[in-house]
């Protein structure tokens, strides 16, 4: 009976904890459209992410997921509210947070290994260590034979794996992913999802992951918690805490069940938004709304 695997107590950030790794407090993000109107992308969003947690932000396109991630990455500033890392406001990008983008953004004039080594150089890793660490991480994602290739010689999935190696080689505390597998074909996507689960397991729950996705299956497969957002302007709609051991499979009963529940919720939300005409970003003519 000792080998019975049971879900641990639901992960709730309590004041007794040493505090969340990331915290988003009443975050509002607006931007000015080309016509000059103010568009609300993120509307008073609050959530915490604990150390070692894997959280997926899920929502219809245009719901402000990427805006939230950009604020967490330090690539953008909140219009109001706060984004905190270890309790301190995020003021810019840092080596403690690696970001994976939908497009891998590799430097085309550097080799695969060169791209990873550059990240290590920027993170302050001594030159003597860089080559070995880059090779190690490329081997971890199955790209050892391609270390000397140029990015254009790789498939889209391999470029994405290079980005994963680059992100993890610097040993960041937080990995932020903006639809990192969004541009991949189904098979490459599945391989990388397995890869992500393996990486999460190997890091022993020490790394904190926040992924943005509109893929319900991906969220159910990877996340400890799925935060489902409304259509624009983005607010939090529902949270699903998933306690199932990894690696998970898409046809696991619980995963399939979560996928079906969340999918239904999202479809209802999209239909509701369409009916209210709010699937387009809400435009504020004045400050009041």
């Amino acid at each position: 009976m000792s080998d019975l695997v049971v879900p641990e107590a639901a992960p709730v950030a309590t004041p007794e904890d040493r505090g969340p790794k990331l915290a988003v407090r009443d975050l509002v993000k607006t931007r000015r459209s080309t016509s000059g109107a103010i568009v609300t992308a993120v509307d008073h969003v609050t959530f915490d992410v604990r150390v070692g947690e894997f959280v997926c932000l899920l929502g219809p396109s245009g719901c402000g997921k990427t805006s939230i991630l950009n604020v967490l990455a330090g690539l953008d500033e909140p219009t109001s509210g706060q984004a905190l890392l270890d309790g301190r406001p995020i003021t810019g990008p840092g080596p403690d947070r690696a970001v994976m983008f939908q497009e891998p953004a590799l430097f085309p004039w550097l080799s695969v290994a060169g791209n990873v080594e550059l990240a290590l150089k920027l993170a302050g890793v001594p030159a003597a260590e860089r080559t070995d660490r880059a090779r190690l991480w490329l081997a971890n994602v199955g790209l050892a034979p391609f270390a000397d290739a140029q990015p254009h010689e790789l498939s889209a999935g391999m470029r994405q794996r290079t980005q994963l190696a680059r992100a993890l080689a610097t040993d960041p505390e937080v990995l932020l992913g903006d639809e990192p597998f969004g541009s991949l074909d189904a098979q490459a996507r599945e391989l990388l999802q397995d890869e992500m689960q393996r990486v999460w397991l190997e890091r022993g729950g020490q790394k904190t992951f926040v992924f943005v996705t509109h893929n319900v299956r991906e969220a159910a497969l990877l996340a400890d918690r799925v935060l489902v957002m409304t259509a624009a302007p983005g607010r939090l709609l529902e949270e699903v805490r998933i306690s199932a051991p990894r690696p998970r499979q898409l046809d696991d009963v619980l995963v399939a069940r979560v996928v079906s529940d969340v999918h239904e919720l999202l479809m209802r939300e999209v239909v509701r938004a369409r009916a209210e005409g709010s699937d387009r970003p809400i435009v504020q003519e004045d400050e009041e709304r």
Partner: protein, 69 residues
């Protein structure tokens, strides 16, 4: 599930205690039921999955839902 949900005094149904006694649960089985009861008490909305292999519950999984607005 609790003693009194089906406790219609006139019901011919055996009580929960009687049903449990009749099952003569092993220590392992009682542990599983205790774990499930604990989860059911914690969750307001969600799903619990028991994974069974070779006639034994080897894993309990759960997903809990919270409405945020």
């Amino acid at each position: 599930m609790s003693d009194d949900t089906t406790a219609d005094a006139t019901s011919p149904q055996p009580s929960a205690d009687e049903q449990l006694d009749a099952l003569e649960l092993s220590e392992e089985e009682r542990l599983v039921l205790a774990r499930v009861a604990d989860i059911v008490r914690r969750i307001n909305y969600g799903t619990v999955v028991l994974v069974i292999q070779d006639g034994k519950v080897v894993q309990i999984e759960m997903a809990e839902k919270f409405r945020l607005r």
